[in-house]
Symmetry: C2
Subunit: 330 residues, 2 copies
């Protein structure tokens, strides 16, 4: 009703109207602000479970990944690899898990050789544990993690492609090193690569694990890893091995599908021989592979079943490096 | 309350209790039966939209596929191919779309040379149309369709693998022949294969279509195809071409993702030269490729937009035929 205002003379009514309108506008703005504050925050930390389309806009958290590289006794290789990996497209940040207990990190040298394309964080550890790299680092800002061993070089082309594949299979470990387990008539499992017999499901070979030492996976799995039975941590600590097998068990249990998607690398190199430290990596220990078979069987006990599933999907990049790499003679 | 029964002497109470219990049990059974009848029937004819695990038990409708092969003027090739395809694992039935108008089908000869591993149905057509093969045939009992041109031979190994891939990507066209469209500065699209310039999204090439003349897809898309604008049928009939491009548009619109998944064939052969008919297929017409570019632009008009999306995923079979086909020199 305008009765109150309408009775007033024109000028006074004009001022009153103006004040009224101003109050209304301010109230509306306050209400809008309050509503915005009340909007639920989109929590996207949970693991997705469907094939996702790669986004074209650059959104930091969704369109980039964090490299986690654990290092022990091979600082020369670490620095060589940091120079390579710091310039990989879509890299957001590097987290170096420093397993050289009591030794200073190369942070000073790193800073003196700046500027760098991305930030590098050195996480100093108190105990030299294989599973240190599987902590749920608060420094992680991206959905995707790229985990690399400190002696492995994968080309930028391979990584850019594998990252785009991970974006389409975000609930899987998307990486470059496939392995498998096999059943034996005794019911005891054995671990191996393609030199081991095929599991016998149709033609060709199968893999049931993708090793995390050269792979992309969702950060949610680092959160999940913190919730595993104590026996899993004890196993990894006892063997200083098998953290990657444990992760594959975890992912397979979570998805009910094969844990990994294998992307065939064009250019992957092991730089072990190039180190001055003389240290050549855990996998040279005599018992390394036997340990891994042992771990498979122990994990089946701990998880009360074999969750790993087989896959024979091998993904390559269409038309790269050879633009006719799919040509057939038809 | 048990007051009514409790007052009665033991024997009478026993009989009453027994009768009461029996009535209760019968009522419960009736209720359970009614509930079961009321359970919603699971309609699985709709297109799924998530990655599906291959089933290990043999369930006819889910674990097998129907081959649909259209044929015109190449009955010698048809029969040669039928001998090959009739024995492909997981094949449920063959539907031959008989475009030889007025001519008798080879059904008699087929029957005289029985028994055969699977039933073959000859669908006699009244008009020789390219899109005859895209009818929603009532003979279809499986979720999966394998569509093959009548001059294309794909090995059983390739088909078995591609079928297992389709089972993991049931909403896509999973096949052996990738093609693409490209944008030009004028806004006019052009159609081609890998000899055409790359679309320019990062390294390597991309494909935006998988041709249906050698591919698996979900039968739901045949249903969908019946619901398209009249202009689409007119276009296909006018050109006697482009039914496969139209199907890729349909699938891309439905999923919002790349329509196809390319599986690199190990052994795919074009038997055109082997025919006695002298007929060498539509793609030899001078205007064939120009028509296909024309179709891409017409379909963009009809659908008011370009729904095709690019992919660079190339899938091969891990460890087959060469058990070390993924070995790297690391």
């Amino acid at each position: 009703r305008c009765f109150h205002f309408c009775k007033l003379p024109g000028r006074v009514m004009g001022i009153r109207l103006l004040r009224f309108t101003s109050v209304v506008i301010i109230v509306l703005l306050l209400v809008a602000g309050a509503l915005t504050a009340l909007l639920p925050t989109i929590k996207d930390d949970k693991l997705p479970n469907s094939r996702r389309e790669p986004k074209t806009q650059s959104q930091s958290a969704l369109d980039s990944f964090t490299l986690i590289m654990q290092t022990y006794n091979r600082t020369d290789l670490l620095l060589k690899l940091l120079n390579h990996y710091q310039a990989i497209p879509h890299l957001h940040k590097v987290i170096v898990v420093w397993n050289n207990i009591g030794e200073k990190t190369p942070e000073e040298m790193w800073n003196s050789l700046g500027p760098h394309p991305v930030p590098v964080v050195f996480k100093v550890q108190t105990v030299n544990r294989m599973r240190n790299r599987l902590q749920n680092f608060p420094d992680l800002e991206t959905k995707a993690v790229l985990m690399m061993d400190d002696d492995t070089l994968v080309s930028a082309h391979d990584l850019a492609f594998a990252f785009s594949v991970w974006q389409q299979f975000p609930e899987h470990i998307v990486g470059f090193v496939p392995r498998k387990h096999i059943s034996t008539p005794s019911g005891v499992y054995s671990y191996g690569s393609f030199e081991l017999q095929n599991p016998g499901f149709g033609n060709g070979d199968q893999y049931s694990m993708v090793l995390i030492g050269a792979a992309f996976f969702h950060r949610g799995y680092l959160e999940d890893f913190q919730q595993q039975p104590e026996a899993v941590y004890a196993l990894i600590d006892e063997t200083q091995n098998c953290d990657d097998i444990a992760m594959n068990f975890l992912v397979a249990k979570h998805t009910g599908k094969p844990s990994g998607v294998f992307v065939k690398p064009v250019d992957i190199r092991n730089l072990e021989k190039d180190t001055n430290s003389g240290y050549s990596g855990m996998w040279h220990r005599a018992e390394h592979l036997l340990q891994r078979s042992y771990c498979v069987n122990k994990l089946v006990n701990i998880y009360d079943g074999m969750p790993l599933k087989y896959s024979n999907i091998m993904i390559s990049q269409f038309g790269f490096p050879n633009y006719a790499n799919h040509k057939n003679k038809m």
